[in-house]
Structures are given as C-alpha cells and as structure tokens.
C-alpha cells in the first residue's frame, strides 16, 4: 500500500488485490489502515500476474490531476440491484468527460451477467464497464470483494473513474469455434440443459470427445461462446460436474446462439494481449497510458500452461504496450468488459483497461 501511495497525497482511491489464499480480511484491514481517508476497493485473486507474482498483494493508487475516483459497494442479494447500486458511484465523477466503471463481484457465476446488466442500466452505452469476478485458485474456496477495511462476500463493488483523459477497455479470448454453432434450447440458472434440442452434456461429449470422467482442466479447454453480431464473442466456461440433469454447468441463457470453443493452436498469448490491450489503447488516441490494468482469467492460464504456453510472455507484452505506464494484472474468475451491446461478462478472456 505504502508503495502504491508512494507518499503522495493526491490518491483518490486504491485498488487492492490479494491472493485468495492469504488472509484477505487482515489484508483489507491493514490496507485500509494504511490508506487512511483514501477509499480502498478490489477483490481477491487467483494470483497476481504482475507485478509481484502469485503470492503478492497488489495495490494500485488512482488519483492525481484530471482523475476522480468514487467507490460504492452493495450486497448482491439481488445481482441486478447490486449492479445498479455499484454504478451509483458514477454520479460522483459525472463532471469528467471520460468515465469508466470497474466492477468487482463474487458469488455464483449465474449472477454475474445480471450484475453487469444492472450496472449497464445505470451507466448506459456511453460508459465502458470493466472489472472481474473475485478469483481464487481452482478448487479452493471462494473469492471475496474488498471494500474499505472489509472483505465482503456476496457483494459487488463499483469503482467509478472519471478522467479528463480518455479511458479505454479491450477484451479478447484466444479461442476458436469447434464445429458449427448450436442453439441453447433449454437453460436454467447457471446451466445449459439442451443444445439444439438435445441434452447438452451428450452433445458436449459428442463434440469434445471427453469422457464422463474428464478432469476439470479438460473441460476448461472446451468452453462455449455466445455469439454476438460478429460471431462468438462471450466465452463461458464449462465446469466439470456430474451432469445429473444431462446439462452443463455453464452460464448461458436459453435462446443464445453458441459455439463450442477450443484454444487457438498458435500465438494465442501475445495475440490476445495485443487484441485486448490494443482495443483499450485505441481509445487513448495514441497517447501513452498512465496505467494498464489487466484481468486475466485463471482458467485461460490453466489451459495455456497445459498447452505448454508461458503466460509470462503475455505480461511482457503488456509491459511493452504500457510504455512507461503502470501495469497491474491479476488473475480472475470471470472478466467484465462491456464496450458494445449490452452483454459484458466474459470467461477465459483477458480484459485490459487503459488509463490515459
């Protein structure tokens, strides 16, 4: 924290990310103490990618001339309402020409799309939404969001950033469709029950060739992606589960046109960074960013490591793109990036926020 604040008194807020395996409550409390009057917001992570490594606690101070930050938190008893209330912080930075809303959420994956939609209903199409779902190493408990001195569970935190300089958001995934698109013909909360009118699990196994005993990281390699106007845009992880209902654990709505995805064979690492960061930086009209903030899916990293790729190369590329700007990258369990349309929830994607 002290490092982040650097003895400066013009910080408007501190973004705090702590690995889920540490005592996040203690971290939150300590950080808040160090921050003093400066609001603190963030979430737990499945690991800090940069700087510091998996075990590090990452603090990023936002502030200085031309930048305002406001933080709001709300419980996600109703995810939609949680998103709405988190977005209320935007009102505090309305005097800035460029605005962006960072959202940090935890809880069941089925809720996250609703949180984003709630925030969108307030923010509207003119304000990009970004952020991530609190991470934790796969199979280890659950994440928490951080707000002030508290580590909250079942909550959403909104960090509204208002800036005189442009703010950009980019998102990319390194997957490609495997076979023709399918229709989700039946779905429930967080579950795809049918694909093209057939039991989803059956179709999934058929398409992927995975057995019933497939390991978790094997299903991660075959997510589904919801189609947007330009094809499969929003990847959704398929988690291994018993499938007693013949369905898949995957957060997609009925009526969605989806594609079964697989990691692109080559160059997916730097390409993804280039695509995401490129899109984010594009908003800056060529100016160098003061900071790049990256939310990278822990599942994507698992898949990439399994494929023998090195995520470190991605970070290096991100550093290059940041120029002299700060880079903060964390590993999340869901990424938020709404730049067009109304859907802003992604899985197994990299979201980059460029602060101009």
């Amino acid at each position: 924290m002290r490092q982040a604040l650097g003895g400066r008194g013009d910080a408007s807020a501190v973004l705090l990310f702590a690995p889920a395996m540490v005592d996040v409550d203690a971290v939150a409390e300590g950080a808040a103490g160090a921050a003093g009057d400066v609001p603190v917001a963030g979430c737990s992570t499945a690991g800090v990618l940069s700087p510091g490594g998996d075990d590090a606690v990452l603090a990023l101070a936002l502030g200085g001339d031309g930048l305002s930050v406001s933080v709001a938190a709300a419980p996600t008893v109703s995810p939609r309402e949680g998103g709405v209330r988190a977005a209320a912080s935007l009102g505090d930075v309305a005097d800035r020409p460029h605005r962006l809303l960072l959202l940090f959420a935890d809880g069941p994956s089925a809720d996250h799309a609703e949180v984003v939609l709630g925030a969108y209903s307030v923010a509207g199409a003119g304000i990009p939404l970004a952020g991530g779902v609190a991470g934790h190493p796969l199979g280890t408990g659950r994440g928490t969001v951080l707000h002030g001195a508290s580590a909250l569970r079942g909550a959403v935190v909104g960090v509204a950033i208002g800036s005189d300089a442009p703010l950009g958001v980019g998102v990319a995934h390194g997957c490609e469709p495997l076979g023709p698109p399918m229709l989700v013909t039946a779905a429930a909360a967080g579950r795809v029950l049918e694909l093209d009118g057939r039991p989803a699990l059956e179709v999934y196994r058929e398409r992927t060739g995975l057995s019933a005993a497939a390991a978790c990281d094997e299903t991660l390699a075959f997510p589904l992606a919801r189609h947007g106007r330009d094809g499969p845009a929003h990847v959704r992880t398929v988690e291994r589960d018993g499938g007693a209902d013949g369905g898949l654990s995957c957060a997609l709505e009925a009526g969605s046109l989806v594609s079964l995805m697989q990691p692109r064979a080559a160059g997916s690492g730097p390409d993804v960074v280039n695509a995401a960061a490129g899109a984010a930086l594009a908003a800056l009209d060529g100016d160098a960013p003061q900071a790049l903030l990256a939310f990278d899916c822990s599942a994507r990293q698992v898949v990439r490591r399994r494929a023998g790729q090195d995520p470190a190369a991605d970070l290096a590329r991100l550093g290059e793109l940041a120029g002299g700007g700060a880079v903060a990258a964390i590993s999340t369990h869901g990424e938020i990036a709404r730049t067009r349309g109304v859907v802003g929830l992604h899985h197994q994607s990299l979201v980059v926020v460029a602060v101009g």
Binding site: A125, R229, A254, G255, V342
Partner: protein, 769 residues
C-alpha cells in the same frame, strides 16, 4: 447452419416467454427491451408509446432522450442518440395498432434481415403481451377495486358486527333491567360489556358510598392488572377523572394519562395510559361513574367509543333508577303510606323471622296489639284529615316509646302492633306496652285542639307461629278493651273462649235486633220532693233465649262497636215513643217525660233526625215529652255536625239531656254551646254523697251548675232514701234508681202505675219540667 436459421425463432420464443413473465406492463416492457438488446447485441433499445418512453436500456437512467425517441418513430430514416456513439440509425417496429414502437439502435452495424424479422416478431409478441397485461391490469384494477370494495365491505361488516354486538349487549342489559334481575348482576353485565366492546379494556363502575358520603366505592370492575385490589378501592369523589365526570356531570377523557394532569398517581403507576369516565345517575342526580382504563400505549378514544361509553352509562343510570323505584315500590307495598310504619304483611313477615331467630337463640318473642279507644269518634267528628294526623302522631309517639330492636307497625285502621324480640319474659312485654300506652296518654294537639287518646293493649308472648301470636295479642286486646279504656291484658289460654264467646254474642245480638227481640224496659224518674212521678227512662233489655238476660254493659258496647247500635237505638226510640204516647194518654195531667239514650254513633247518623221525627209522628207523642240523652263524651267531640244535628233535634221540639254528667271533662263550654235542657248526675256522685263531705260538695257543685245554667238535674242511681234526701236538700229536682224502682217492662210499670194501692209514685198534676 440449422442452429443459425432457427436462432431467430428460438430467440423469439425465449423473448415471448420472458416478456410473459412479469405481471405488469412496465416490467414486461423492461424485460422486452433487455432481451431485445441482448438478442440483437444492440446498445440501446426502447419501447416508446405516444411520445413517452415506457422502458429503455442503454441510456443512463435519467438521460433517456424521450423527445428524440418520440421523433424517431415518425421518421423515415430514424436515428437516435446513443451514449458514446452519437446519432445512430435505429430500427423501429410498431407494436400493434397502438402508438407504440420498439426502437433498437446498434452502434456500428445495422440489423440484418433476420434480425429485423426477429425485431418485428418481438414487437408483435410485445404487443400481445402488453395488451394482455393491459387487460390483466384492467382486471387487476377491477379486482383491486373489488378487493378495496371487499375490504370496505369487510370493514363495514366488522363495524356492523360490532354495532350488532353493541346492540345485543344493550338489549341484553335492557332485558335484565326490565326483568328486574338483581341490580348487581345488571351492573356487572354493563361493566363487562363496556370492557369487551371498548377493545377489551379494563372497566369499572364506581358509586357513591351511601354509608360514607363523599367517597366512591367500586361496585364492579374487570380487566385491571390487580383486579381484586381494585375492587377494594375507595377514593374521594372529587379526585381523578371519575371525580371530574361526576362533578362536571359529563363524559371526561384523559389520554396520555401518565403525563397529563388530573390523573391519580396509583392509577398511573399501574400502567394505565388513558382513562375515560361517564357519569351515572339515579333519578337524575349523579351518583358515580362508569370508567374504562387502557393499558395500551398511545390509546386515543374515538368519538364512537366515547358515545358507546356514554350509552353504557345511561344504561347503568336506568338500572339504578329502576332499582330505586322497585325499592320504593317494595317499601310502599310493605309500609303504611300514612305513618310510614311497616304494614301487616311486613309485620307478619318480620314476626315470622323473629320467631325463627328466637327459636334458634332460645329466646321468645312478643306482640303487643294496640287499639285506639276512641279513634272512630275523633275521625268522624274532626274529619278524616284530623284522624290521619292523629294516627301519624300516635305512630310517632309509639315509635319513640319503643326499644331500638322493637318494630312498630300499623295493622290497619286504628290498630297498631309492636314486635318485641329477645324477650326475657312476659313482664318485659308488659313494661313495653305500658310505656307505649303512657306515651299516648298526654293530649295530642290536632288542628288547634288537644285530643285525648287512650288505647287498649293486648299482649301475647309465646313461641307459637306468627299468625297465632298475632291472633293471641288480638284476643288479649279485646279483653283489655272489654275491661275499659286505656287498659291492657296479657293473653291467657282461657281468653280464647272468651273471645269466641264475644264473637258469638255479637252475631246473636245482631239477629235479636233484626228480629225485634230486644225489649225496652222503663225506669221511672221521680221528683225528689215527694216521690211524684216525673217520667221514664227507656232502657234496652235483651233476654236471650238460652243465656237468659244479657246485661246491657255486655251487649251495648258490642252494638256500638259493630254499628248495630243505630238499628237498636231506632228500635228503642220507636218503642219508647209509642209507650210514652200510651202513658200520656193514660196519665195526661203530668205529661210524663220519656228519656231515650242516644249513642254517639246514632248522633253521627244522618238519618237520626228523620228517625226521631218519624217516631214522634208515628206515635203521636208530643215532641216536648221526649228527652234525648247524650253522653258527655259525645258532646266533647264538639263538631259542627254534632251541633247542627242537635239543633235540628231541638227544632223538632225534643229536649236534650247530658247523661253521666261529671264522668267526662265536665266542661262548661259545651254546656253553653249546646242547647242542653237537663243534666243527669252520674251515679258515682250519688254514691259518694254519704261517704264524705267532698262527695257531697261535688254533688252540690253539679246541682248548682245546673241551677245556674237553668237546667234541670236528674240524679242517677239513687239506691238509698238518704241519698234522695240529701239530693233534695242540695236542690236536685229529680232522681232515678233502685230506691224508687228498677227498670221494668211497660206492662209491669203500667200495672204498677194503675194500682192505686200499690202506687209508689204520685203522679204530677202539672208537668215537672
């Protein structure tokens, strides 16, 4: 590509399912725009109806460009402002025949044909849904109205039920009052109903303590936290809400009891939060209050509730007044209206209870029956109002003479009774009787006159039944009466027979009178100068077929008591007149007098003058030959009626004599007032002539009185020649008695008068008087 081909259809199906879920139009429209935005991957979607945005997404909540959207629906190439993107071409689909449109703006890429088809499909689906929801909303509105109506109905029903409960409670209370159920249970019912119908509050009725004026006692209470203690409560009449309600004679409400002034500290300490009190009345006078106390915080009494309490209070007033009336009626039924003393019914009842108690305690009870000796005379001569006054005075004197435990009663007419409880013996009863009689002895002032009253007292002491004891006292009273005025007698067993005998005699006398079986005997009246016959006194004689001769002192009072004396007197008068006429014819020179006794009852009889006139006319006896004797006591009544009657008799020409002069009050006043001709000196004066000088002096006084008043004087009961001589010496002109002749039948006397040898009287040559 079947999935892509089916996508629009599938997506439409999902859309329709989603918009069908909400229950109102706005929510359906909101779900619609969100689904459309997701399905078409559009940034902004809106439902615009008649220039108003029903629902939208993509515009910040308070920055929806309503005018631009309204304009856009009418444009051929519509564009709408999209935040962060500026004016963006919009796809618009009409929603049915209403002025409603679904507007979609997607940045960067216009909708393709499939997407436009989906948009139209969504618009149609939304139309159906919105219409349906409008209908549902209308129905819901109706239902809501009907529910409101139902709620209102339920409220009315509750109100009616409550009203019904109130009416039932009131009716029940009214029934209780009209059935004259015990007052305490009526009051309890009112208190209970007041508590129940005023939301189950504590209720109490406080009434003035008749024993301790200025203090209220709790007649009934329920619902207080310590109800048993409250029931024992006593409070001053001028304190608290109750006191104010009574003092101001109006309903008083005190809310926020603990903080407001005018409450009682112990009531506040009990946790009471509000009090309401309504005064209750008895015969229009406030006598207490009906009170409800609430323990509920912030309790406010509504106007309805205040009226309800006032109504209950009125019912209490009704019950109290009615009960008092019933008490009064009972009192009236059991008491003599004139004197206020218990009547025969109550006396008998008390006697019965006293006897039961006496048996239990091993004591005895006594009854004294008092009968005024001359009440009828007073009543008839002074008028009924005076009679009433006399009875009241007697009652007061009687009550004053008794012990606290004794009960005096008026049994009827001039008959009084006294119940004596816990007697030690007969002597004690006699003492009470004597004290009562003594109390009556002093003259009683009635209308400016002093009336002397005596009473006969019958005393009975025994453990017999009430009726028997009363009857025994009655028998004793008759016995006492028979002994004379102002006497008393204690019941003895043989009196029973005596009374029966008397009753029998009375009925036989009546029969004898009716049958003309009463004889008239005559006793000569003689001039004391030398045994010259001056006249006769007619005397009734009753020769009973089995009993033999019944002495006049036995049957004359009987006839006077039962009124037979009037008929008897008429019979004697007519017989005497006939006989006098016969003797006058036989002895014309002396014009002998015929004296006939008139009882008081006869003098009161309106037909007396006519009877006398008829007797004279029928017998052709000169009125001057007839002397009517009236006792001193009758003259003492001194009523206008008596005077008028005597004057009428005098106008007939008859003469009047005062019988038994000297035994009464010998007032000179009546001698002057009445048209008296003759004084008849009573036998005791004649008896006393030879006893001492005083006796002679008394006789002389009477003779001189007669002389000075120019009245003739007849001495009665002369039994010895010396008496006749002395009387003659004193100046008394006439006399009668056994010394001269006993009374005898007319035939015998005629025979005596006609037998010259045996003649003991010299017939006068001229009238003596």
């Amino acid at each position: 590509m079947s999935a892509v081909a089916d996508w629009a259809v599938q997506r439409l199906g999902v859309f329709l399912a989603a918009v069908a879920e909400p229950e109102d139009r706005d929510a359906a429209a909101r779900v619609g725009v969100e689904h459309a935005a997701e399905a078409l991957d559009a940034e902004c979607v809106a439902v615009v109806c008649s220039g108003r945005v029903l629902a939208s997404i993509g515009w910040p909540r308070f920055e929806v460009p309503e005018r631009a959207l309204a304009r856009a629906v009418a444009e051929e190439r519509p564009v709408v402002p999209v935040p962060g993107a500026g004016l963006t071409p919009a796809a618009i689909a009409g929603i049915g025949d209403e002025d409603c449109h679904l507007v979609v703006a997607r940045v960067g890429a216009p909708l393709d044909r499939d997407e436009l088809a989906l948009l139209r499909g969504m618009a149609r689906g939304l139309r159906l849904t919105l219409r349906l929801l409008q209908t549902v909303a209308a129905e819901r509105g109706l239902r809501a109205r009907s529910e409101r109506q139902a709620t209102e109905n339920a409220r009315l029903l509750t109100s009616l039920r409550r009203r019904q409960q109130v009416l039932e409670a009131m009716a029940s209370i009214q029934r209780s009052i009209s059935r004259r159920e015990p007052l305490s249970s009526v009051l309890s019912a009112v208190v209970a109903a007041a508590g129940d119908l005023l939301s189950g509050e504590a209720a109490a009725l406080l009434l003035l303590d008749p024993e301790e004026p200025g203090t209220l006692v709790v007649a009934d209470a329920r619902g207080f936290r310590d109800n048993a203690r409250f029931l024992q409560r006593r409070q001053r009449v001028d304190e608290g809400v109750t006191g104010r309600a009574i003092a101001e004679d109006r309903l008083v409400v005190l809310e926020d009891y603990r903080r407001a002034s005018g409450g009682l500290s112990d009531i506040a300490a009990d946790g009471v939060t509000a009090v309401m009190a309504a005064p209750v009345h008895e015969d229009g006078e406030p006598v207490g209050a009906l009170v409800v106390d609430s323990y509920r915080a912030g309790r406010i009494y509504t106007r309805d509730e205040q009226e309800l309490l006032a109504s209950f209070a009125q019912h209490v007033s009704l019950a109290l007044t009615d009960a008092r009336r019933v008490d009064a009626m009972l009192h009236q039924a059991l008491h003599d209206a004139l004197t206020g003393l218990p009547n025969r019914a109550l006396f008998t009842d008390r006697l019965r209870h006293a006897l039961t108690a006496a048996r239990r305690r091993g004591t005895t009870c006594g009854v004294v029956v008092l009968d005024l000796d001359r009440f009828k005379t007073v009543n008839d001569s002074l008028g009924h109002a005076a009679g009433d006054e006399l009875l009241i005075a007697v009652a007061q004197r009687l009550a004053g003479a008794l012990r606290a435990a004794d009960t005096a009663a008026r049994l009827g007419g001039d008959e009084f009774a006294v119940l004596l409880e816990d007697l030690g013996g007969v002597e004690e009863a006699v003492l009470v009787a004597e004290r009562a009689m003594e109390a009556l002895r002093a003259p009683i002032p009635i209308r400016g006159r002093e009336v002397l009253v005596t009473a006969a007292a019958g005393i009975a002491v025994s453990s017999a039944g009430a009726s028997e004891l009363l009857r025994q006292a009655d028998v004793a009273m008759y016995r006492a009466k028979a002994r004379g005025k102002g006497r008393h007698a204690v019941f003895e067993d043989d009196m029973q027979a005596e009374v029966l005998e008397r009753l029998e005699l009375e009925s036989e006398l009546q029969r004898a009178i009716d049958d003309g079986d009463i004889d008239v005997h005559y006793q000569p009246i003689v001039a004391l100068d030398g045994h010259t016959l001056a006249g006769f006194e007619a005397l009734a004689r009753w020769s009973h077929p089995t009993r033999g001769p019944v002495p006049p002192p036995q049957f004359i009072p009987l006839a006077e008591e039962n009124g037979a004396i009037v008929a008897l007197g008429r019979h004697v008068l007519r017989a005497a007149c006939r006989q006098a006429a016969a003797w006058l014819e036989a002895l014309p020179a002396g014009e002998p007098l015929m004296t006939v006794n008139l009882s008081g009852r006869q003098l009161e009889d309106a037909g007396l003058v006519r009877d006398v006139a008829d007797a004279l006319a029928d017998s052709r006896l000169p009125a001057s030959s007839l002397v009517l004797e009236i006792t001193e006591t009758v003259l003492m009544q001194d009523t206008e009626a008596t005077i008028d009657r005597l004057r009428e008799l005098k106008e007939l020409g008859v003469r009047l004599a005062v019988d038994d002069f000297g035994t009464g009050y010998s007032s000179l006043r009546y001698l002057r007032r009445f048209p008296i001709d003759i004084l008849k000196m009573a036998k005791p004066f004649v008896d006393g002539l030879h006893v001492d000088d005083e006796g002679r002096a008394l006789a002389r006084t009477i003779v001189e009185l007669a002389t000075s008043l120019r009245l003739a004087c007849i001495a009665e009961g002369i039994e010895a020649p010396a008496q006749a001589d002395v009387l003659h010496d004193l100046g008394c002109g006439l006399g009668q008695g056994y010394h001269f002749a006993r009374p005898m039948a007319a035939d015998a006397l005629t025979q005596l008068l006609g037998d010259d040898d045996e003649r003991r009287f010299r017939l006068p040559s001229t009238p003596i008087l």
